[in-house]
Structures are given as C-alpha cells and as structure tokens.
C-alpha cells in the first residue's frame, strides 16, 4: 500500500470521527443547558477551547454577546474555524476523493453526500430543533460509514489505517469530552457549594449529559451499579476496556490495528507506554487533588505523540534504499 494513500485514508477517518465527536460535544452542552436551573452557566468559550478552535479577541467578543449562536456558528459552519464540523467534513471528503480507488464506492458516496448535506444546511441552524436534527444526522451517518466499512471492506492494511485514524481521534475526543465535563463543574463551583450533600443535582445532571453525549449512559448503568457520580463516570470513560468510546478501549483497538501493520515496533512501544499510564491512575485522587484537567492535557500530548510516531513510521516518504 502506498504511503501517501495510507495517510489519506487515515486522515479521512480522523476527520469523519472528529465531525461526529464535535457534534456529540455540542450535544453535551446543549442538553446541559436545558436541564440547568436558570442562572447557572454553561461555558461556551470552554467548548471552543476544547475543540482547539483558535480564540481571537474578536471571537471572545462575539461569544460574549451572542453566546450560543456565535459558538454554534463557529463549531458547525465557520469556514475559518479549522475544527468546525463543516471543515472536518470537507477535509474528510477531500481525503476520500483522493483515495477513491481504495475505499468501497458506497463509502465514498456516503461521505460525499454528507458533505453536500452539510454544505447546504450548516449555515441555516439557528433553531435548536433544526440543529439537533442536523447533528443527529452527522452522528448517524458517521456510524453508518463505520458499519459499511466493517461490512464491505476487506480487512486489509488500508482498513487498519482507517480503524487507526478513527480510534486515535476517538480516544483524543473522549478525553476532551471528559475535560468539558470537569471544566463545567469548576465553573459552577458556587452552585456546587449551595448543596453540600452528595446528591448535588447539578453534579448528577452534568455527568449524565457527558455520558449521554457519548451514547454511554446505558452502558454505564449496566457496568457501574452505583448511581451516576463524577468519579465513576471519569473512571468508566477513561479506563473501561469494553465500552468502545472509552479511552482504554480505543487504545486496545489501536494496538490491534498496529499489530497488523509492518515495521510496527516503535508504535507498539509508544502505545504500550500510554496504556500503562492510564491503567495506573486513580481517578479519585485526580479529582481530589483537582489535577484531572492537567492529566488530560498530558494524555492529549501523548496521543499526539502516538500520531507523530505513526506518521514517521508509515507516511513520510521513505528515501531510496541506498540512503
């Protein structure tokens, strides 16, 4: 398989997953907003920070005046915001278009169709109901694509690169979504202090919507018999090995894919170190010492390091055998 093509399908898959996860992330905050008592804050700016959107003074002003609308525009349709859903889909399509000879034709059609859908609709989403339908469509189509790939594409190296891209992006985004929950919690510290009991309603609602955004609520309930609480949720989303959007589970899948590829020593090494790191943490301590956010930052750097390692191993043009 050509290095260039491997890189393109890897990115195609990352961008699709990113579009899906951004849609999920928006849902966390929107749901949260609906459930909260009037007067509590949902941090729109935090949402932008989490997606890696560049925040200029202008953005800051816009978000300050028209909070929800401005943030949504940036995250969904803005052509200058690198991580907007529209841009992700455009990049996914561009990468798919240039690797059509590798991926099943129906998959290309799905991606192309979704891009055209976003192009036609992304800028008309002022009403929350329309937005919800739009985001739902993005999430469902991305899932449909994964299913179609699993069901119609031979499990060749190309398929492994697609899986690699998807799970690396997913691991990264799941850490960001956990982070979003934690940050929102800190922002509403005052609210937290109003009720000192364990049954703090805000706390509950917040973690529930984090779970829901990852379609994880039901699985969480099956797995964790206690009621929803921060420690258990973070634990589940970081360390569970059976829920496919939990970070540990994504890392396991990545490891499987890496094992199918040639010259994989270095990447396997990197992933093993990352897995050890996650296994060894105690979520209770992180929450107690309020170092969860820092730990997640570190985790994201490690994931970026893994990406770098994949790039060096397979994507960079290898020089002539002599050199």
């Amino acid at each position: 398989m050509l290095s260039r093509v491997a890189e393109r399908v890897y990115w195609m898959s990352r961008y699709m997953e990113r579009a899906e996860n951004t849609a999920r992330l928006i849902n966390v905050n929107t749901n949260l907003l609906l459930d909260l008592p009037l007067g509590s804050k949902v941090s729109w700016l935090t949402l932008l920070e989490i997606t890696g959107c560049e925040i200029t003074e202008e953005t800051r002003n816009k978000v300050a005046t028209a909070q929800e609308q401005a943030t949504m525009k940036l995250l969904i349709s803005d052509r200058n915001c690198f991580g907007s859903i529209f841009n992700c889909l455009r990049n996914a399509r561009e990468n798919a278009r240039t690797s059509r000879e590798i991926i099943p034709a129906e998959c290309w059609e799905i991606i192309n169709d979704l891009y055209l859908y976003a192009k036609d609709n992304a800028s008309k989403l002022t009403a929350r109901a329309a937005r919800r339908a739009f985001l739902q469509h993005i999430i469902a189509t991305s899932q449909q694509l994964s299913g179609l790939l699993a069901g119609t594409m031979s499990h060749t190296e190309a398929y492994e690169f697609i899986r690699l891209g998807r799970n690396l992006e997913r691991a990264d985004m799941s850490t960001r979504i956990v982070d979003a929950g934690a940050l929102n919690l800190m922002q509403n510290k005052q609210l937290d202090e109003l009720s000192e009991s364990d049954d703090n309603p805000f706390n509950n609602i917040l973690w529930m919507s984090v779970l829901q955004s990852l379609s994880a609520y039901q699985m969480y309930r099956q797995h964790v018999f206690q009621k929803v609480n921060g420690e258990q949720v973070v634990n589940f989303l970081l360390q569970n090995t059976l829920f496919p959007r939990a970070v540990s589970s994504c890392l396991n899948t990545i490891k499987e894919s890496l094992a199918h590829l040639p010259h994989n020593d270095e990447p396997l090494h990197t992933i093993a170190a990352l897995q050890r790191k996650i296994d060894q943490i105690s979520v209770a301590t992180l929450l107690e010492e309020q170092t969860l956010h820092d730990f997640i930052d570190e985790l994201q750097l490690d994931i970026a390091g893994l990406h770098q390692c994949i790039t060096l191993t397979w994507f960079l043009p290898q020089l002539s055998s002599e050199e």
């Binding site: 398989m1 260039r4 000879e101 192309n112 055209l116 010259h263 290898q318």
Partner: protein
C-alpha cells in the same frame, strides 16, 4: 403534457433516432414509443434523478477558472443514443484496422522508416513533428505496440456515414464517463433494459488491465500495474482514480515513484520500496521525466525514460506514440492502412487538404470561408479557424499564418454533425454530437461497444467539449436482427 415528436425537427442533419418528423429509426422505435408514453414532467423528474445520482456518486470533472480549480458535476442527458449492432460491427473492424496500422507506422518511424523510403508519406513531416521523440529511435516495445489505448473521434455527416475526425494516441480521456453514463441510465430507466438487448460496456476495465499486464517486463502472474496521474488538480483526475479503482491498481503520483540505481521503478509503500512493472501513465511525454524531457516538470519521475529504455518497466502509451497523433499525419492514415495491411480503410477520413502541398495550400487559402483549418498538434479545439464563421480580418490573419508555416496546417470542409434529441426545458430538441470509442491493442484487440457520446447542449452549436458547455449521453449498441 406529452412530447409531440412531430414537432421535433432535425432539419437537414442526420438524426440518430428520428428519420423524419414523427418516425423513429428502427433500432430506436421502442425507446421513442417508451418516451411517448411518458409526460414531460415525468421525464424531467427522471433527469433530476440522474443529476442527483451524479452529484451523490461524485462524478465530476475539474475545470480551471478564475484561478481556482472547480469540481463540476458531469453534464448528462438522459435520452440514450442508439446505434444498430449491424452497423457497429463494421465500425468496430474499421477502428481495429486503424489502430493496427497506426502502431505499424509508429514502430516504422522509430526503426526502419520504410514508409518514407518507399515515398508513401513524405519524410519532411517528421522534421516539424512536435511529438517525435528522438530518445525513442531504435526501440521496439513489447509486442511491437506503442499506442495501447486509443480514443478515436467519429462523426456522422448528413449522409449518415461515420468519418474519423481524429485519433487520440497520447492520453485519451473520457472512458470513465462512458462507463458511469451506463450506470446512471440503469438507475433512471431500468424499464428500458427489458425491451432491448444492449451490449454491456462494463468489460472495459478488465480488458484494459489485461492489455497492460500483457506488456509487463517480468513474467509474473500478477504484475504490478499502476496508474500515474498528474494529481488531484488535473481535469481528468476523476477518471484516473476511477480506472485505478476498477482495475484494482494503485493510483500513483510522480512523488510516489522513484527510479533506483538498478534502473528499475519502485513505489514508496508502507512496507518500503516495491517494484512497479507497468505504468498506465496519464501524463504527457513532455512532463513524464524531467531527466529526459522538460527539466522543470514537477509531475514526473526522474529516470523513468532510462528505466523504459532498459526494458525494466512498460509504459502505456509508449513515449513518442504522439508522433501519429498529428492532424497532418492523420491525413495519411488511409495510405498507411494500404501500405502496412494491404487493405482499404473501412472508415473514411474526413476529406482533408494538406497545406504542405503547394496546390492544396492555394486551394485552402482561396476557400478559407468554406473550410475549417486546424494546426497539426493542438487539441481541444485550440488554434483553429472556423472559416464560415470567421470575419474577413480573421481569415486574412490566418492566411498569413498558413503561408508562414504550411506544414503545420491542414483544412477540412465543415462537417454537418449528426443530431440526437435531448431533453431541454420545454421539449425534446435536436443537438449535435460526436462519438469517441476506445480501442485497446495488447496481445488482443478490443473496442468499446459504442463509446462516449459528447453532445453540444447549446442549440446549433458544434462544440461538444464538457469544459465548454458540452454534455454527454449513454450510447447503446442494440441488436437489430
């Protein structure tokens, strides 16, 4: 509202489907009566379905305009063009005959040059040939074939006879659209396929693969065949990708390949370097290898020519094939057929005047208002004079150009291209069209059943190029006996 075929008036032109107002040609009868049974609104909704399918399937071509590359949807008219199988059989033989003779000619040009020694064709045509490559002299590629893939443009005059307009031997394109057009017709008119026995076109990619595999320098069961594209900004990128996909071949860009010290070609893969046997290159000679040709080319692969000359890699079409893709050489193809094969040309050329001949040149200059004058080595309609439509001043200017360089020009009478109905806003209307069948020569010869029909969408226009407002039609070869 129904279509009234009595209002459909092709006038003096030969129409592909309708013989006289209200009467369909024999092979088109079922189609026309089927269309009669539908309302115009119905037809329009089928056209919309086709347009939507094209959009979703991402069937595009790239145009360069306003400093930007724009991906446009492929323009397609849903009413197919129908040709009787009995007629097509003869045309098919004519196309094969032509490609065999052209390949004999190219091989002769780079080796013994007998055809010039026997004075069948004047040797001076080589002196000014833009596509003669001196690097190829003395080479005989595998099977003696240079042009493995040829797109021959056919047109029909008022008399209903097919004529060859030109042979595209460099990097002919359009075959992917021919294949996709059939797919779309199947989506929008599935009922029609019940009434007709239509020759399928879907064999082409495997025939192309076999043609390419046959010239591999290594005797392997599975030679590594790749498609070399100039990249995603090329107007035919869609096709490059499509053919690679259908052949199960890698689609490579110049940067993916390298020629190592052993003069073999390798591609960069996730496993390291991997040897390449056959390259279906969709890059012009001139940009293929900066070492041998244009040193500024960023698209090619340095050393490719070296590897080819050593016989370590096969290139299709072979470099230098373009020497026969020249409007002046074209005029001699019937002579080549007689010389190499001892046969008469089955499909005639459009009558042509050669400006390198003093007498013919005088005739051309005296009759510029009636003729179409073409330069020898341009394609896509560039640098032409359409005499009947040109102003007096333009004609005078062109006469000067011809006199300055007679070898570079030839002239033909304006052919009245045949028409076929297209679905317009209000009705069905006649539009002019041509046909590009694709011919393959490797160990075997094959011709696509039909080919790509390109149709001018503007009333009265003869311009069928998709970049200039042309569209396309599915082309059916149907059993008529």
């Amino acid at each position: 509202m129904k279509i009234d075929w009595k209002n459909y008036q092709p006038g003096e032109f030969y129409d592909e489907l309708i013989s006289s107002p209200g009467y369909a040609r024999k092979p088109a009868r079922q189609l026309v009566s089927y269309l009669k049974s539908m309302s115009l609104e119905d037809l329009k909704s089928r056209q919309d379905a086709a347009d939507l399918a094209i959009k979703t399937m991402g069937i595009t071509f790239t145009v360069y305009s306003d400093g930007e590359n724009i991906d446009r949807e492929w323009p397609f008219d849903i009413i197919p063009r129908i040709i009787a199988e009995s007629e097509w059989k003869k045309t098919e033989l004519g196309l094969q005959q032509r490609l065999i003779a052209l390949n004999c000619f190219i091989n002769d040009v780079y080796n013994d040059q007998k055809i010039f020694k026997d004075k069948v064709i004047p040797k001076e045509i080589l002196a000014k040939s833009k596509n003669f490559r001196k690097q190829c002299v003395g080479v005989t590629p595998p099977l003696g074939v240079w042009a493995h893939i040829c797109g021959t443009d056919l047109i029909r005059d008022k008399d209903g006879q097919f004529y060859v307009l030109e042979d595209n031997l460099r990097v002919p394109s359009g075959v992917s659209y021919m294949l996709e057009n059939r797919g779309i017709t199947k989506r929008v008119f599935p009922e029609l396929f019940e009434d007709y026995s239509i020759q399928p076109v879907s064999e082409y990619p495997s025939q192309l693969f076999d043609t390419l595999a046959a010239i591999s320098p290594r005797p392997l069961d599975y030679p590594e065949v790749v498609v070399l594209t100039p990249g995603i900004y090329n107007s035919a990128y869609f096709e490059h990708s499509y053919l690679a996909q259908r052949m199960g071949a890698e689609l490579v860009e110049g940067g993916d390949l390298l020629v190592d010290d052993d003069d073999c070609v390798y591609m960069r893969t996730i496993n390291g370097l991997s040897r390449v046997d056959v390259i279906y290159r969709r890059i012009d000679d001139w940009f293929m290898d900066p070492e041998a040709f244009n040193p500024d080319s960023m698209l090619g692969v340095p050393g490719l020519m070296r590897a080819w000359l050593k016989g370590n890699v096969a290139l299709a079409n072979a470099p230098g094939s373009g020497v026969a893709d020249d409007k002046v050489v074209y005029t001699f193809v019937p002579d080549m057929i007689k010389y190499y094969l001892g046969e008469e040309a089955i499909i005639p050329n459009v009558p042509s005047f050669l400006c390198m001949d003093k007498k013919q040149c005088d005739h051309v200059i005296a009759n510029l208002d009636k003729l179409v004058v073409k330069p020898a080595n341009e394609s896509g309609g560039y640098g032409m004079l359409m005499g009947p439509q040109a102003s007096k001043k333009e004609r005078a200017a062109f006469a000067k150009l011809i006199k300055a360089d007679p070898r570079n020009y030839m002239a033909q009478p304006l052919i009245s291209l045949s028409t076929s109905p297209i679905l317009s806003d209000k009705d069905v209307e006649p539009r002019h069209l041509d046909l590009r069948p694709f011919v393959l020569q490797g160990r075997n010869l094959s011709v696509t059943p039909g080919g790509l029909t390109r149709v001018a969408l503007v009333k009265g226009s003869y311009v069928v190029n998709s970049s200039q407002g042309g569209g396309s039609k599915d082309t059916w070869i149907v059993k008529d006996y």
